[in-house]
């Protein structure tokens, strides 16, 4: 056993010393090399290196040139082809899009009509029931608070024609807020009355912000405002299917000024009626 140990020790010492030799001789990381190496060695190396580098450079130049030429040619061809393709594609796409929109619109219209009818029927029934019970007022109040609590989904009025109606008044919001103020409630009450008198009318509610704040956050804030208005109108008995929403964030200020006076005017909920479809 002792004998083997000695053999191992000898092997170990041998390997260790070889390793040590290698470690000490091995080139260190180039970043720490100080230019203290023998001048002549570098020059000798450099000559070979220069030649190789020159060759590599020439090769690289030639390659780069060929590549650039090829690229330019391909690019020109590709561009011409893409242009033609793009034009054709654009036309077919536009056509397809128009068709799709038309279909979607018709479907949405039918669906909305069906729902509106159903809603109307339900409301008539409900009213009759409530009248019978004589507690209409109480229940309506309950309904109001419940609706403000639940989420309603946005409805986008794509590809429609809209116009303003003097009867529908704008409402205003506080900075960075989306709750309906007391003055806003009164306005929405009047707007709801108009909607009840014009049961065929569908409206688009636009949410707007002042220029302060970021583009992204203001888009979300404007949407919150439009949705608050929508929810409030629903709570006043207007059917959700008649209420489309869109947020323009800070993109469409009514007054382009940069002071509190203009900001107040720009933080608004605006109403348009949809005349087409």
């Amino acid at each position: 056993m002792q004998k083997y140990n000695k053999i191992f020790l000898v092997i170990f010492l041998f390997v260790f010393s070889t390793t040590f030799l290698f470690i000490s001789c091995a080139p260190k990381k180039p970043i720490s090399v100080k230019p203290q190496v023998d001048e002549t060695t570098i020059k000798a190396e450099e000559k070979g290196k220069q030649k190789a580098e020159e060759e590599a450079r020439l090769k690289a130049e030639e390659e780069a040139r060929l590549k650039a030429e090829e690229e330019a040619r391909l690019k020109a061809e590709e561009e011409a082809r893409l242009k033609a393709e793009e034009e054709a594609k654009r036309r077919t796409e536009e056509e397809a899009k128009r068709k799709a929109y038309e279909e979607a619109r018709l479907r949405a219209k039918e669906e909305a009509k069906r729902r509106a009818e159903e809603e109307a029927r339900r409301m008539v029934e409900e009213e009759a029931r409530l009248k019978a019970k004589g507690e209409k007022k109480k229940i309506e109040e309950e309904k109001l608070s419940a609706i403000m609590e639940t989420e309603t989904q946005p409805l986008a009025a794509r590809e429609t024609e809209v116009r303003t109606v003097p009867a529908l008044e704008d409402i205003y919001f506080d900075f960075n807020k989306y709750d309906i103020r007391t003055d806003g409630r009164e306005i929405l009450q009047r707007n709801a009355e108009w909607l009840q008198k014009n049961p065929g009318a569908k409206i688009q509610i636009e949410g707007h912000c002042d220029e302060r704040g970021t583009t992204e956050y203001n888009l979300a804030l404007g949407e919150r405002r439009a949705m608050s208005v929508k929810k409030y109108l629903i709570s006043l008995g207007i059917s959700a299917e008649r209420l489309y929403t869109i947020s323009y964030g800070e993109e469409l200020p009514i007054d382009p000024g940069h002071n509190e006076e203009t900001w107040i005017k720009n933080r608004r909920g605006h109403f348009l009626i949809i005349i087409k479809p």
Binding site: F8, K28, E159, S247
Partner: protein, 450 residues
């Protein structure tokens, strides 16, 4: 006891043997891993010092009249590139530069000693010739101390890519000295109202070569580059609702990505380019979702009845920073990319938004309302500290990092209308990068484009 000792002894040599063999192998292998022969290390940056480089005006093929001043323009582009990189100091005394250069021309060789006396460590010489309407630019980089050429390239192309050819050599120089890929070939995307409507524009990273990308004649917002640099997602009102579209920057092809009712706001691509983090209003209030590039496979990450917006994917793909008003006003939060492990990041100020991760993932730049005006701040996620980068100069918004993490592009209205500005990532050297009639908003810096 005795037995154990023997056992121990008998194992020891074997252990040493294995260990020494490992040492032996590693001593052979390691230096070859550390060696990166492409990179030129005779001139090295120590600490934050910059490499001094001289770039005299390019020489021009004989017999050509330089009507467009290309010889000085070429050198100017390269000088600017190297200055923006933050790694080089260019010799800015043009008189001395051109004087020494003309001596070189007379003697037919480079007088390295004379260049060395100016304190310069490297020189670039460029030569332009025109062949059948095509430009050939030869660029050579020299080591002054050693008096030898480090690298040389010849680029050719038409006049429209004159700047790109020089940018390419700038990236080559950066790579030679640092082993790091340059950013001179990267691009910016931004919004401008140069026509009547807000449209998406792109430009070279130095603000030149501005091109209008969309023509929706509507409102188009918030462009964000894909990780491969080939397309941009943005939000447009073109079809009656704020929808997300994607546009291919080479052929201009537009593809609908997310067109739910209510707001669709593009936020950020996953680093692998497969998923998009967005803010959708379809549930009645803005929530963060991730989706495939065709708007399918929706995954909802937030569930809070308020505003959740501006998602930004971390560079390692593990986390998403975003803005939420759950505390009563907009603040920045971070969550896992599956929506778990939510934590609040900002507590200072009442309005923090537009988080943007540094490329190394250690920092997040954001906009913060600070005494009535927006300023750009950086929060250090490692050191848990934050730093204000802009102050006292109008509103400053939309920070976006350069792919090397050394620069931040942003929009500012410090001179009236919003324009695109650039600064170093520590807030130094703030300057206007792009002036465009109609203003510049929401800049996004492209990745390195291969």
């Amino acid at each position: 006891m005795k037995d154990r000792k023997t056992e121990y002894r008998s194992q020891k040599p074997i252990f040493y043997l294995v260990f020494s063999i490992l040492c032996f192998l590693s001593s052979i292998l390691c230096p070859s891993f550390a060696d990166t022969p492409d990179i030129y290390l005779s001139i090295t940056r120590t600490g934050g010092s910059k490499i001094k480089i001289a770039i005299p005006d390019f020489s021009l093929q004989e017999g050509i009249t330089d009507r467009e001043n290309l010889s000085s323009k070429g050198a100017e582009i390269l000088r600017e590139d190297l200055e923006i990189s933050g790694l080089f100091k260019t010799i800015d005394n043009k008189d001395i530069l051109n004087e020494v250069d003309s001596k070189d021309k007379k003697s037919g060789k480079i007088n390295f000693k004379e260049w060395a006396s100016m304190g310069t460590e490297a020189i670039v010489k460029g030569h332009i010739n025109v062949e059948e309407g095509k430009f050939n630019i030869e660029c050579r980089l020299y080591d002054v101390k050693r008096g030898e050429q480090i690298t040389g390239y010849k680029y050719s192309g038409d006049r429209t890519i004159f700047r790109q050819m020089i940018h390419k050599f700038s990236d080559e120089i950066t790579y030679r000295f640092t082993g790091e890929k340059g950013i001179a070939m990267t691009m910016l995307a931004f919004v401008s109202k140069a026509t009547e409507n807000k449209e998406i524009y792109i430009s070279d990273y130095d603000g030149h070569n501005i091109r209008k990308l969309t023509d929706h004649k509507s409102i188009s917002l918030s462009p964000k580059w894909s990780p491969d640099g080939k397309s941009i997602v943005y939000t447009t009102f073109k079809y009656g609702n704020p929808d997300i579209y994607s546009i291919n920057i080479t052929n201009g092809k537009k593809t609908p990505v997310s067109t739910f009712s209510g707001m669709n706001m593009a936020g950020s691509w996953s680093p692998d380019g497969k998923r998009l983090a967005v803010s959708l209003g379809k549930d009645g209030n803005a929530e963060i979702y991730t989706m495939d590039m065709d708007g399918k496979n929706l995954s909802r990450l937030t569930n809070y009845r308020g505003i959740d917006t501006s998602p930004a994917w971390s560079p390692n793909g593990m986390e998403i920073a975003f803005t939420s008003d759950k505390s009563g006003n907009p603040q920045i939060y971070v969550m896992g990319s599956d929506g778990a492990n939510l934590r609040r990041l900002t507590y200072q100020g009442s309005y923090n938004d537009q988080p943007s991760w540094s490329p190394d993932g250690n920092k997040i730049a954001y906009s913060s309302l600070n005494s009535g005006q927006f300023d750009i701040f950086v929060i250090d996620l490692v050191g848990n500290s934050f730093q204000q980068l802009t102050s006292g100069k109008g509103d400053n918004q939309n920070p976006s990092w350069s792919p090397d993490g050394r620069n931040i592009v942003f929009s500012s209205n410090r001179d009236g209308r919003y324009q695109i500005y650039i600064m170093k990532s520590d807030g130094a050297e703030q300057r206007k990068l792009i002036y465009i009639e109609g203003g510049g908003y929401s800049p996004s810096w492209s990745p390195r484009i291969e």
